[in-house]
């Protein structure tokens, strides 16, 4: 018999907002179960990719074009940012977690990620900006 706790697991969404200008695509939520992975972009950016939300990007009969958001963060802090996002995505309580919201459009501050210092240098880690790439942006 399956444990009841299995059914208590809820979906988690990451919220990101490029700015407080409410144009199409400036704010977005990404579902944890759509997450496909993350890689470094350059020395201060990491891209987080998700299966696309819109059929025009699903690539039916071909390859999908992933939706994504790219976080700007402290130089060299890619691993720490990935760890914080992984902890947020795997949160079994579910709900909405602000990944990056520089203008505080959600009212929960710039980020709710639990960012640890860079272990090798002790440098404090922060996220400062986000770029969203979906069908709307």
């Amino acid at each position: 018999m399956l444990s009841k706790t299995i059914f208590r697991e809820k979906e988690t969404f990451l919220y990101v907002a490029e700015s407080a200008t409410y144009d199409s695509g400036d704010q977005a939520m990404f579902r944890a179960s759509d997450f496909t992975g993350a890689t470094a972009v350059n020395n201060f950016k990491t891209v987080f990719r998700f299966y696309p939300q819109d059929k025009t990007r699903l690539g039916i009969g071909g390859d999908p074009v992933m939706d994504s958001f790219t976080l700007t963060h402290t130089d060299g802090a890619h691993v720490e940012v990935m760890k914080a996002v992984a902890d947020a995505l795997s949160n079994e309580r579910g709900g909405i977690i602000v990944a990056c919201d520089p203008d505080n459009t959600m009212g929960r501050g710039i980020t709710q990620l639990n960012l640890q210092n860079i272990a090798s240098t002790g440098t404090t880690v922060s996220v400062t900006a986000v770029v969203i790439t979906t069908v709307d942006a």
Partner: protein, 115 residues
Amino acid sequence: MKYIIANDQLTTGAIDAADEIVMFPRSSVLSIDLSSNTGTDIHAQSTSNVDSTVVLSIGHATVDSFTGDRAQRQMIDDIVKIINMENHSRGYNVIFDALNNVSILNATTLGVDEA
């Protein structure tokens, strides 16, 4: 879902591109195979292209010796433990992080290749 992180760079200043650090869901792991007598590869679905793979190439002692053979088998056991998140309550597990000196037992090097 839990996630796996791998980093093949030694310094923060050296991190500047894909193929250096990757994070993916543990369910994306496709296979583990022996690439040479000093290397074992972990294949996972690419983060950006469903037709491609991420390959984590782990270097280790040669398997042409008794100790090397044991080292490789031990390492595969450790990789499976990482994937299964045994004894790990966080949302991620690090399979190799050259920057922070994190490594599974017997692994000497790592190469990240996001095809």
